[in-house]
Symmetry: C2
DNA sequence: GAATTTTCTAGACAGTTGTCAAGAAAATAC
DNA sequence: GTATTTTCTTGACAACTGTCTAGAAAATTC
């Protein structure tokens, strides 16, 4: 009896927790859509609520305050933001194919998810001014670096050559290139996608193939 | 008489214009200091005025509205933001020296002007969400690319080798590296400066020295 | 189906924002 | 030295912000 009750209660409680967490996720999703559209500076709680099916009051039922909501957003954002190239890495039979597929995937997400990517850079930049997201942002950045590292290491493997750079620097270079192409893309320059497609394989070669030490 | 009067008037008018422009510059400077400290999202007109020696009303005497002020800020920001390496380029006698001096200068400004640099990235990002600054931001970005190009081209010259990359891509890579190191630096990672100092020459080599085509 | 709990709405609050206007203060003109 | 123009301050305004509360609506429990 007591046992049964307790089990029931636990089940209910878990279901409630799940529903609670589900709604939090749903609201965080609305918040992310708003952020991607307006940017961090212009996103308000009421605007977020209008992008959901609820009124602005709910936000304070599911989140303690704005920082709580935004922190949750950043955490939830990771899945969407860290583009996974694992499949490409696993499938590629040779270095050239890997390079082509990787470049194509980056160019694809540049086109398809431009809003999301600009939000990422916006949030990462916010973390330079505000402490609150910094830890989560750095964690996401680490994951992104990890993904790039996977590709680079596998590419080097397929060429049977060592990676000639620290993974952090390799990531910084690919990220810099991607960010610049995002800038082009959102400024209306149609060459962005093509440039990215062309330059990513070139960059891969440059990261792996070492310069000849005899020449300098 | 009429002539003299007119000349006087012109002189006065020009002086007034100068004073007017001077005060605008002064206020824009206060605005930039505020922006560098708080970031775009948290900078208000009253906060800017408090960082100046005037009250908040003046801002609307010298600027039509907030966008006018911020646009002026971005334009004025260029001088501060585009770090010049011309002297280093002119002075360097060989490639190694150029690489070392360039890396040192970048590391120096990373340490000394971190706030200014994070503001630059903040403003550049804002331009992804808002039309108003975009043109000016792109212009500054072009100048920055130009500066990097100077260094890279000169470096290649000193080695008597061609630059193996488009200048845009080279800029994107150096900027990506710098931005990542800024992220580290502002997150309290002391290795940022040293890493930048070490990796910039390595990157220079990689940009100039071409991979051997026989190997892939 | 009544009682209770969970979920959500609507509105109020205090503070902040960009903007503007009336007039004080200062500089300049005559 | 007075008149006029330029410069700056002060306070007000409407709109918006994050936050909180009272209570309606819905779901759940027994």
């Amino acid at each position: 009896m007591t046992e049964a009750k307790q089990r029931t209660r636990e089940r209910i409680s878990r279901r409630q927790v799940d529903k609670f967490a589900e709604r939090r996720a749903q609201l965080a999703d609305s918040a992310l859509r708003t952020l991607a559209e307006l940017g961090y500076a212009r996103t308000s709680l009421r605007e977020i609520a209008q992008n959901s099916e609820f009124s602005h009051g709910v936000l304070h039922y599911y989140f303690a305050d704005k920082v709580d909501l935004l922190t949750h957003c950043v955490r939830q954002f990771e899945e969407a933001c860290v583009t996974r190239y694992d499949e490409i890495v696993a499938r590629a039979n040779d270095a050239d194919e890997l390079a082509r597929e990787f470049a194509g995937a980056m160019a694809g997400t540049l086109d398809a998810d431009a809003q999301m990517h600009r939000l990422w850079y916006d949030l990462r930049n916010q973390s330079l001014f505000e402490e609150s997201f910094r830890a989560d942002v750095l964690e996401i950045d680490r994951r992104r670096e990890e993904m790039i590292t996977h590709v680079v290491v596998r590419y080097a493997e397929l060429l049977d050559r060592p990676v000639g750079l620290s993974t952090s620097v390799a990531y910084a270079m690919f990220d810099g290139l991607f960010q610049q192409m995002l800038l082009w893309h959102l400024a209306g320059d149609e060459r962005a996608t093509a440039t990215l497609t062309a330059e990513v394989p070139a960059l891969l070669r440059r990261v792996v193939v070492q310069p000849q030490p005899a020449d300098y």
